[in-house]
């Protein structure tokens, strides 16, 4: 990895909520074409770190770089325009918009101006939206408001919304939770395909260790906001400190 600019890099990222230090000076890297896992017990700071890296939360110390550019002070929409997309632990879809509208509104806004947004339809966006909806097996719900979907269906829709802009890096926050196992396997295959054929990078927060070990090249482990371990999934799962953090033995 020497000499290659990391796609996403956090240097000494620290986030405090009042007296609580939720993330403590974490160094973090996602290289191009890599799938990185982020695991840790509940409350270990995974989602907070995710929020810091994707600029939902401002950080108190350290810096965040995307494709070599310092994005520590960038706005979330600017980071999205640069090619970073994400899903959320608590599902965020636009309940009053239809599935198709949800997908379309999540497309890449690079180079768009307000005037072009006045157009009711862009054929390429429509096609991509429908393709992704079909992949997610939600085509029978295409024109239904997202508010009428079940939790699992919303989770799938959110994944589609993250894929819609064709980003360089996709941050998945428990994207497989609440989805039936068959579809989870398909999602894993899709992620692998996107990674191997298109060079897309992923940063994945997930509790399902099978999901992590099947997908990820490297894994970071957080505990109490600190980086506890880093390595391949096999190395991490054999790490005594990690076992102790998870099982307390």
């Amino acid at each position: 990895m020497n000499g290659v600019t990391p796609l996403l890099e956090g240097r000494g990222v620290t986030k405090r909520f009042g007296g609580l230090e939720a993330v403590k000076a974490v160094d973090f890297k996602v290289m191009p074409n890599e799938i990185v896992g982020l695991i840790g017990p509940n409350g270990s700071g995974k989602t907070t770190l995710f929020d810091c890296l994707s600029r939902v939360q401002p950080i108190d110390e350290g810096s965040v770089h995307f494709q070599g550019v310092d994005i520590t002070r960038s706005k979330p929409h600017q980071v999205a325009h640069m090619g970073m997309s994400r899903t959320f632990q608590v599902i965020r879809v636009y309940r009053k918009l239809t599935l198709l509208e949800n997908m379309k509104v999540s497309r890449q806004w690079r180079g768009e101006n307000l005037w072009s947004q006045m157009s009711p339809s862009h054929r390429d966006v429509e096609e991509r939206s429908r393709d992704l909806i079909k992949f997610l097996r939600l085509e029978h719900l295409t024109n239904e408001p997202a508010g009428t979907l079940s939790g699992g269906q919303r989770r799938l829709l959110e994944l589609g919304m993250a894929l819609m802009p064709d980003p360089e890096l996709i941050l998945l926050d428990e994207a497989a939770s609440g989805i039936n196992p068959t579809l989870v396997e398909e999602i894993k295959d899709r992620i692998k395909t996107l990674n191997q054929e298109q060079g897309k990078a992923f940063l994945v927060v997930e509790h399902d260790m099978h999901f992590i070990s099947d997908l990820c090249n490297r894994v970071y482990v957080l505990n109490y906001g600190e980086k506890l371990a880093e390595g391949t999934p096999a190395e991490v799962m054999e790490n005594e400190a990690v076992i102790e953090a998870y099982f307390g033995t």
């Binding site: 994707s54 965020r92 999540s106 269906q153």
Partner: protein, 343 residues
């Protein structure tokens, strides 16, 4: 953006709309062809003119209040700026049309200037800030005597032509509703609704929420400024209390709510219903009509927060309560009920 599927065939709806517009367009002609009839009178045309203005104003308010979810309690400030801009320029011997356009542009510029700081506020904080802006502007107009005539007001060159104003306001209402229809079906419209539904999520997905909110705000301010200019010319006299009428915005909120917030047809239905009720029914209730209005407002919030169009199934609508909860909704992810999380 694709519109939500309609329950009625589009052609039939278009036909009904065309027939309604044809009837409305023919009304002033009835006065000329049948001078002895008593139904279509100058007074009735004036009533319709007021109703068309209210439809336009409510639609404009709905762009920020309904589509974008920013409940603006000071929207009438743009009406006032449009009215005073028109009045001031006409007193400088400008013709009506350029004066009205200049007044509307002033309203749009004002929206641009105040939109940047105020649209960063969420929910009730934005509403109160706009209310304060409205009151402040009224006082500025009152003290800027050399320009605005102060509390005494301004007189515009009189031009009494009820049919002309009837047609002008009808055309404007049709145009504005058409613009709202187009916006709702465009990516811009879907973007505004996305901001209303989840502003943080929209920002995370690459939407420059500030630019989109300001664009909607400026457009609404401009269109409301036009209505203000027309109203001033029709009225031939403007003063701070008449133009910056405190309950004007409340009326717009009520009409949008009754019709259905965030829908295209809602403001039309709401404004027409309340105006008709006020004109025909509440005229018989004398001083009780305000009580009746208040009761109606309470009943809407309690039993039909989605409004008439929301009840009829236009799924793009929303309720005022949802919009009002913005600070919580926007600062934290929307919670999914536990029973919905499983597949």
């Amino acid at each position: 953006m694709t519109a939500p599927p309609s329950r009625r065939p589009a052609k039939r709806r278009l036909g009904l709309l065309a027939a309604l517009l044809a009837v409305l367009a023919a009304l002033p002609l009835v006065m000329n062809v049948f001078p002895d009839q008593t139904w279509v009178t100058n007074s009735r045309l004036f009533s319709f003119t007021q109703m068309f203005m209210l439809i336009t104003l409510t639609s404009n308010w709905n762009l920020t209040g309904g589509f974008t979810g920013y409940v603006d309690f000071g929207h009438a400030v743009f009406f006032g700026i449009g009215a005073y801009g028109t009045g001031i320029f006409m007193n400088e011997a400008w013709p009506f049309w350029p004066s009205m356009l200049a007044g509307a542009i002033l309203a749009a510029i004002f929206a641009l200037i105040i939109g940047y700081p105020t649209l960063r506020l969420k929910g009730p904080y934005f509403s109160i800030a706009m209310l304060g802006m409205f009151v402040a502007m009224r006082e500025i107009v009152r003290v800027a005597k050399p320009l605005t005539g102060g509390g005494v007001g301004l007189t515009l060159p009189p031009y009494l032509n009820r049919p002309l104003f009837y047609y002008l306001t009808l055309i404007l209402a049709v145009l504005v509703v058409g613009i709202m229809w187009w916006i709702r079906r465009s990516e811009f419209g879907a973007t505004l609704i996305a901001i209303r539904e989840d502003e943080v999520g929209a920002e995370m997905r690459g939407i420059n929420t500030t630019v989109n909110k300001i664009a909607a705000f400026v457009l609404a301010g401009f269109l409301t400024g036009i209505v203000g200019g027309m109203w001033a010319y029709q009225n031939t006299f403007i003063d701070p209390d008449g133009v910056f009428f405190p309950s004007r915005t409340v009326e717009l909120v009520m009409m949008a709510m009754l019709g259905g917030l965030g829908t295209v047809a809602g403001p039309v239905v709401g404004a027409a219903t309340i105006y008709w009720m006020r004109d025909v029914v509440w005229a018989n209730l004398a001083e009780w009509h305000l009580f009746a209005e208040g009761m109606l407002m309470i009943l809407i919030v309690l039993y039909a927060p989605q409004g008439i169009m929301g009840k009829l199934g236009d799924r793009s609508g929303t309720s005022l309560l949802r919009v009002w909860r913005n600070p919580l909704r926007r600062s934290a992810p929307e919670e999914v009920p536990e029973d919905e999380v499983s597949v």
